[in-house]
Subunit: 162 residues, 2 copies
């Protein structure tokens, strides 16, 4: 059973790592200036998507019951508010550093989590309700955030100069 | 052990279904005329992404060892070739019908597959090599195609009129 759990976890973590690696390669290719542009006319700018992904990944830290968020101040301007609603955003270089710190922190926790622990509840479901809904576990959070990352990577790629 | 397999399969299939449902809701909202537009200046048109997703999902049928592809003629113009390389594409209404048929066929096979079967090899790895790389199973194909779908849904959403 442990072998099997280990295999499941590896499949989901591999998918996360592969999506993250592709996103980082893309961000390395994009200049700060390119990240200030809109992905399409009238749509979100690269800076907003970078901040949004950082804020959402930061929230995964408490959701997986690892630790508190590192940059709670990002959630308002990059999640609750749409792009351009907040005038005073962090610089691209600061966001790049925060993006890296959040993902490195997540990875350090993930690497230490035994496979069996991935199938325990995430923070948004109570211990009482979890036995009735065992799919609301930590690994499912990772699966859904991997798709969220892919969704926005498909948009960020439009900033690459043709 | 079967419980755990069933749970894990359910998590991955739920993620697929949820991504597919969101994509279908988006496609319902987009007119044929909107799907003829580019997602951003100089980028792929909606028709190309719809054909591309249909061609890729069609390929999942043999990759999961379910059956042959239904519309092999889509793979050239919507996968091997970039958008606008092929002049004579199917109509949007035909592609919408093909998209539905491919996904319905996939779903019918998926619903009949016992959890334990999801952890057997996909078609691109031999029986001899599979024991060394057990993560190259059918469920992993589903996980990676779910991310692929999310990636392009993030692009198709740009066609919605603001």
């Amino acid at each position: 059973m442990n072998d099997l759990q280990g295999l499941y976890v590896r499949m989901a973590v591999d998918a996360w790592n592969s999506e993250l690696k592709a996103t980082n390669a893309l961000l390395d290719k994009l200049s700060d200036e390119q990240l200030m542009r809109e992905i399409a006319p009238g749509r979100n700018r690269g800076i907003y998507l970078l901040g949004h992904l950082t804020a959402v990944h930061d929230q995964v830290l408490p959701l997986l019951r690892f630790q508190e968020t590192i940059f709670p101040e990002l959630y308002g301007p990059f999640h609750d508010e749409p792009d351009r609603a907040v005038a005073d955003l962090p610089s691209i270089s600061q966001l790049r550093a925060q993006w890296k710190e959040v993902n490195d922190t997540l990875m350090a926790h993930m690497n230490k989590l035994p496979p069996v622990e991935w199938f325990t509840r995430h923070a948004n479901i109570s211990e009482a309700d979890f036995p009735k809904e065992p799919h609301r576990n930590r690994l499912n959070v990772l699966i859904s955030r991997t798709n969220h990352l892919a969704y926005h990577r498909g948009q960020l790629v439009l900033l690459v100069q043709k």
